[in-house]
Amino acid sequence: MKKIILLVVLIFHYTLIAQVTIGSDIVSNRNIVKVQDGVKGVILPYSNTHTAFPRYNASAPDLFDDYANLVGSLIYNKTDEQYYKYDGYAWNPARQIQGIYQLRASRLGISAGITIPCISFGIGFCFAGGSPAYLAADNRSQVLVDNLLLKNASNVTVKTAGIYDVGVALVFTGGSFGAVAGVTEFKLTLQVKYTPASDWETVVSKTNYSIVFIVDTQGNKTSSFAQTISLPVGAELRVVPAISSTAISGGALAAYGTDTNSASSYLAARLIKAY
């Protein structure tokens, strides 16, 4: 009985004081846990690979389930020899900027895609049509964040003047030509409206006609480029996908669409330097 009481007292003492010093008999009253200073280090738990990390989920967009109780956890990954920390959404390498907390960057998914209609009278034509809306809700598990506050109710504008690195990726879907002879041009154009009153100006336009950028992946066409632009406050950004075809079509000519999967279709901006 005395032993049990002693044990209980010790446990309560421990809980109440909640101070542990490791490596010394000098208790610090300013820390929960204090490891003695000196030539001996501390090794935190390790894992051989990230697939063994807590909350790993191969089907999650960022491979890890969201879990608030694990926030602040640290683990060492032997594969790439660095510590990782858990931010509530995913594990982040210790000395790199955490994706979703990178304050000078945004990655915007497509909230509303567009259809690019095509017609065929022996010769097929497709028509350029508008711009997808990059107003998808933020989703930290998909690394969709708007830390630059680019999104407005109906458009995307720059809030801080500076030089930006803008990345664009887009997937064209659909578009069945059957037998085709001729040239079909896929075009992706990044445009800026520098002031509300000005016209849209093309910053860069990449096509598979003069500059190939389209890769056929299981029927879809994927494209990507990055561009540096100097932008004033209020500048509006948009991406205009277009297809022009002068092909002689032996088959049906279906409309093209834009894929809204954020892994392959997005508009991203990073503020390199504010003016």
């Binding site: 010394s24 008999d25 956890s73 683990i75 907390y101 190939v212």
Partner: protein, 247 residues
């Protein structure tokens, strides 16, 4: 109580957390998972909600350094950052912004088919700005398929710059040259540029891809020439790939 912990401490239910562990390891504390298969657990740092709640800040900031608090760690939930206290002020414990760019030199490689995967040399040579803070080539084999691969260690948005020098037969060499990008061996993007023969022998491209990649995926790159263009050429080792983690 204190003397209880003067030796090495294992916060595990196994007697020896590492078969190599010994009293000579200069390790004070092991917090080791029993085994990888039964589920890995991490080590939870104490956390505060915002930076404003960090102790010894604002009006409570110490005038002189508090020696016993040097090295204290706290996790700030609102910023997702681990902060370290030097006795006077708090600073980021882990992140360094310039550590978001890796750069590698390419090995020379030739093709007769118009496209060729680019061998990426993992050599670190910081005076020549070859470095790998993104750990894309750490513990990656330097031969076989792995020579061409860059392993993504964190899900996010990457900008990949390719600066490639081509040489080919004089007079008949294509002016439109470029590069392609694969994710886990699936081709994703191609870019082609109009080039000039800038010194009588060489042509150069310099282009940027934007790609969203998931932790554990690998990226490979290839040099390409336009369809119907020159199929025989050489990529020289005056070629580089620079990977920036944007987000």
């Amino acid at each position: 109580m204190g003397s209880l912990y003067s030796a090495q401490v294992n916060f595990t239910n196994i007697p020896n957390p590492d078969s190599n562990a010994s009293g000579n390891d200069q390790v004070m504390m092991y917090i080791t998972n029993t085994n990888e298969a039964s589920g890995v657990k991490g080590f939870g740092l104490p956390a505060v909600d915002t930076e404003a709640l960090l102790p010894y800040t604002g009006g409570s900031a110490p005038v002189t350094a508090i020696e016993e608090l040097k090295g204290m760690l706290l996790f700030v939930k609102s910023t997702g950052q681990v902060m370290v206290f030097n006795g006077l002020v708090w600073s980021k414990a882990f992140e360094v912004e310039s550590d978001n760019i890796s750069r590698f030199q390419l090995n020379a490689v030739s093709t007769t088919t118009g496209s060729v995967l680019l061998p990426i040399n993992s050599l670190i040579d910081k005076p020549n700005f070859l470095a790998d803070p993104l750990k894309l080539k750490t513990n990656v084999a330097t031969s076989g398929a792995n020579l061409n691969r860059l392993y993504i260690r964190q899900t996010g948005l990457y900008r990949i710059n390719l600066n490639i020098t081509f040489t080919g037969p004089a007079g008949s060499f294509s002016s439109r040259l470029g590069a392609g990008l694969y994710v886990n061996d699936a081709q994703r993007f191609q870019l082609l540029e109009n080039t000039v023969n800038f010194d009588g022998t060489n042509r150069k491209i310099n282009l940027d891809f934007s790609v969203y990649a998931v932790q554990g995926q690998y990226i490979t790159l290839e040099a390409v020439s336009e369809v119907g263009g020159t199929t025989s050429y050489t990529v020289t080792n005056n070629s580089f790939v620079t990977i920036e983690k944007v987000l």
